[in-house]
C-alpha cells in the first residue's frame, strides 16, 4: 500500500496527540531498571520533568525526560509538560551527577515550551534554560537527546544539547508553535497549517539542516501503533551511540559537541 504523505500540520497533531507514548513509556520500555530521583535542592520538585538513574543493557545511565500526561488529570499534575525553572535545575543537578559518576545521559524531549508564568519569571526561567544549555555543552560524558513529541523553543533546547540528537519520525522541533509563528509573522493565528509547512519543523527538515543525526521510523498512525518496533529501533540506536561515544576521550567528546553546534547556521 503506498504511504500517504503526512503534512507538517498532520505531524504537529500527531506529535501532540494525547494517546502518543510519553517519556515514561519510553523509559519503561528501553531501560531494564530505573530509579526516579526528585528535586532541584533549591525550591521544589517539578513534575514536568522525570529524572533518575537507569540501566540500558549493561550501561548505567542518567535518564531525564519531559513528561506530558495522557489525561487532563495527568496533564494538570505534569503541567502539560511545560517546565518551570526548578525542572531545568533538577535536570542539571542530575546531569552534573552523571558527569561525576561518568555515566552517559539520555534525555527525552516533549514540551510545548517552558512555562510562561509569574513564578517562572521570578525564579529565573531564562537563567535556568541558559545555564542548562551552557553546562550541557561542556559535560564530559556522552549525551543523547531524543525528541519524542513536541520540541518547542528554548524549553526543549534546555535538554537538547548533546552528541547525538534523535527525532521520532512524527516529532516536531521548532522555535515556537506554528500558531505562535502564524500570529506573529502572518498576523493571523488561523494560518497555522501554512506556518507548520513553512517553518521546517519535521524530522526530515531537521535532518536536512544537519541539526539532528537520526530519524526513528514510526508506523502509520504514529509511534503508539507499534510501540515495540519504535522502542527497539531507538534502543539499538542509543546503545550503538553509547558504544561509539565511549571510545572518545573526554576532550574529543566535548570538542566534537562544540563543533556540532558551532557550525549550525
Amino acid at each position: 500500500m503506498p504511504k500517504i504523505k503526512t503534512s507538517a500540520w498532520d505531524k504537529v497533531l500527531l506529535a501532540r496527540q494525547a494517546s502518543r507514548p510519553k517519556a515514561l513509556e519510553y523509559i519503561e520500555n528501553i531501560f531494564n531498571e530505573f530509579i526516579e530521583l526528585h528535586g532541584d535542592r533549591l525550591f521544589s520538585d517539578d513534575k514536568s520533568i522525570i529524572g533518575g538513574i537507569g540501566k540500558i543493557e549493561d550501561y548505567t545511565v542518567t535518564v531525564i525526560g519531559q513528561q506530558k500526561g495522557k489525561t487532563t488529570k495527568e496533564n494538570m499534575e505534569r503541567n502539560f509538560g511545560m517546565t518551570n525553572p526548578e525542572g531545568y535545575r533538577k535536570a542539571l543537578r542530575l546531569m552534573e551527577q552523571a558527569e561525576k559518576f561518568n555515566r552517559p545521559i539520555i534525555t527525552f524531549i516533549d514540551t510545548p515550551g517552558a512555562y510562561p508564568g509569574i513564578g517562572a519569571e521570578e525564579r529565573g526561567q531564562g537563567e535556568a534554560i541558559a545555564r542548562n544549555i551552557c553546562s550541557m555543552s561542556n559535560l564530559k560524558v556522552p549525551i543523547i537527546c531524543v525528541v519524542i513529541g513536541e520540541g518547542s523553543s528554548g524549553g526543549a533546547l534546555a535538554l537538547g544539547v548533546g552528541d547525538k540528537i534523535v527525532m521520532l519520525e512524527n516529532a516536531i522541533y521548532s522555535i515556537l508553535s506554528p500558531e505562535g509563528f502564524a500570529s506573529i509573522l502572518y498576523k493571523d493565528a488561523s494560518k497555522n497549517k501554512e506556518a507548520a509547512e513553512n517553518m521546517k519543523i519535521t524530522a526530515k527538515d531537521l535532518k536536512d539542516f544537519g541539526i539532528i543525526d537520526k530519524i526513528i521510523k514510526e508506523p502509520e498512525g504514529g509511534a503508539g501503533e507499534n510501540f515495540e518496533s519504535v522502542t527497539k529501533e531507538l534502543k539499538t540506536y542509543i546503545l550503538k551511540s553509547i558504544k561509539e561515544l565511549n571510545k572518545l576521550t573526554k576532550n574529543e567528546l566535548v570538542e566534537n559537541r562544540y563543533k556540532k553546534f558551532r557550525t549550525m547556521c
Partner: protein, 284 residues
C-alpha cells in the same frame, strides 16, 4: 522652555552632519513616554539618551552605545560580511534585511569589535533594536560567537550589551540553535578564566535572555529595563491575570537575585571599567 530649545537648533545642526545615519531619528522632537515632556532630540542625545526630566533611559543605537563606552578612536569592528542562508526561504526576509542595512548603516542586529575602556582592551558586542528588534538569527549568533572567540584569543574581558525581542522567527529552528552556539562559546570563555560582563538593556527577552545574556560573571542592567524569558503578553494570556506593576523590570530581577547591579547610563562606563580593573590579577 521650548523656545530655549529651538535656539539651540542652529548650533546643533552642525554636529548633526557628523552623525551616522543610524543615529538620526526622524524629526527633531520626541515626547518622553514616561513623563510626557517634549524633548529636543539633540538634547536627549547629549544627555546619553536619558530623559533630563524623569531619567527614563531611551533605547540606544549600537553606534551611540559604543561611543559612550569605548575610548575614542580605539574601536575596530569585527565580524562583518556575513549573510543569512535564509533557511526558511521566508517571503521578503532577505529584502527586508537589505533595506534595514541601508537604513541603519549596520549589517545586522549586533555590532561587534575590539576596543578600549579607560585603556583596557576588551571585546564588545552591542545589540541594536533598530534592526528587527535585536532578534537573534544565524548572523547575530555567529557574530556574537566570533566575538566570544576573539575575546578568548586575545585573553581580554568580554562586554556584551544585550537588547533583544528574542529569537529571529524568520529563521526558524536555526535561530533556536544560536542559543546553543553562543552559550557553548561562553562555556569555553568561562573555562579560560576570562571576565564576561553582560549588560541587560531594555528589552532583553526570549532566546537571548535564555542564553548568553544570563551567563555573565557579572550581570548589570540599566534602570527599568524589561528583562525576562516569556513576553508579558504571553504570560498574561496564559495565566489570565494582569501582571503586577514592575514585573520583569530590572528592579524586579535585582530583588529576585538574577542581576548583580542596576547602573545608570551616566555611570556605565566607569562601573564597567572599575570591574575590569578589579579583575586584573594582582594575586600572582
Amino acid at each position: 522652555m521650548i523656545i530655549d530649545k529651538i535656539k539651540k537648533v542652529n548650533v546643533q545642526e552642525e554636529n548633526r552632519k557628523n552623525l551616522k545615519a543610524s543615529d538620526m531619528l526622524v524629526g527633531k522632537w520626541v515626547k518622553c513616554d514616561n513623563c510626557k515632556e517634549i524633548l529636543y532630540k539633540e538634547e536627549l542625545h547629549e544627555n546619553l539618551g536619558v530623559c533630563p526630566n524623569c531619567g527614563k533611559h531611551f533605547r540606544l543605537s549600537a553606534r551611540r552605545r559604543i561611543k559612550q563606552i569605548i575610548d575614542e578612536g580605539t574601536f575596530v569592528e569585527i565580524g562583518n560580511g556575513l549573510t543569512t542562508k535564509d533557511p526558511l526561504k521566508f517571503d521578503g526576509y532577505v529584502k527586508k534585511l537589505e533595506a534595514l542595512k541601508e537604513k541603519t548603516k549596520i549589517e545586522e542586529a549586533v555590532v561587534t569589535g575590539v576596543g578600549k575602556i579607560n585603556s583596557d582592551e576588551v571585546v564588545i558586542a552591542v545589540m541594536d533594536g533598530n534592526f528587527l528588534m535585536g532578534s537573534m538569527g544565524s548572523v547575530v549568533g555567529e557574530k556574537i560567537t566570533l566575538a566570544i572567540e576573539e575575546s578568548i584569543k586575545r585573553k581580554v574581558p568580554l562586554i556584551m550589551f544585550c537588547l533583544s525581542g528574542g529569537a529571529r522567527m524568520q529563521e526558524g529552528i536555526i535561530s533556536l540553535m544560536q542559543m546553543a552556539k553562543t552559550s557553548s562559546a561562553i562555556a569555553r570563555h568561562n573555562d579560560a578564566g576570562l571576565l564576561y560582563i553582560s549588560v541587560l538593556t531594555d528589552p532583553t527577552t526570549g532566546g537571548v535572555t535564555a542564553s548568553f545574556a544570563m551567563l555573565g560573571d557579572i550581570i548589570l542592567a540599566e534602570p527599568n529595563a524589561l528583562i525576562g524569558f516569556a513576553g508579558p503578553r504571553v504570560i498574561e494570556q496564559t495565566i489570565k491575570q494582569t501582571l503586577p506593576e514592575g514585573f520583569q523590570r530590572s528592579e524586579f530581577l535585582l530583588e529576585h537575585g538574577f542581576i548583580d547591579k542596576i547602573v545608570e547610563r551616566k555611570d556605565m562606563k566607569e562601573t564597567i571599567s572599575k570591574l575590569i580593573k578589579l579583575h586584573i590579577n594582582t594575586n600572582n
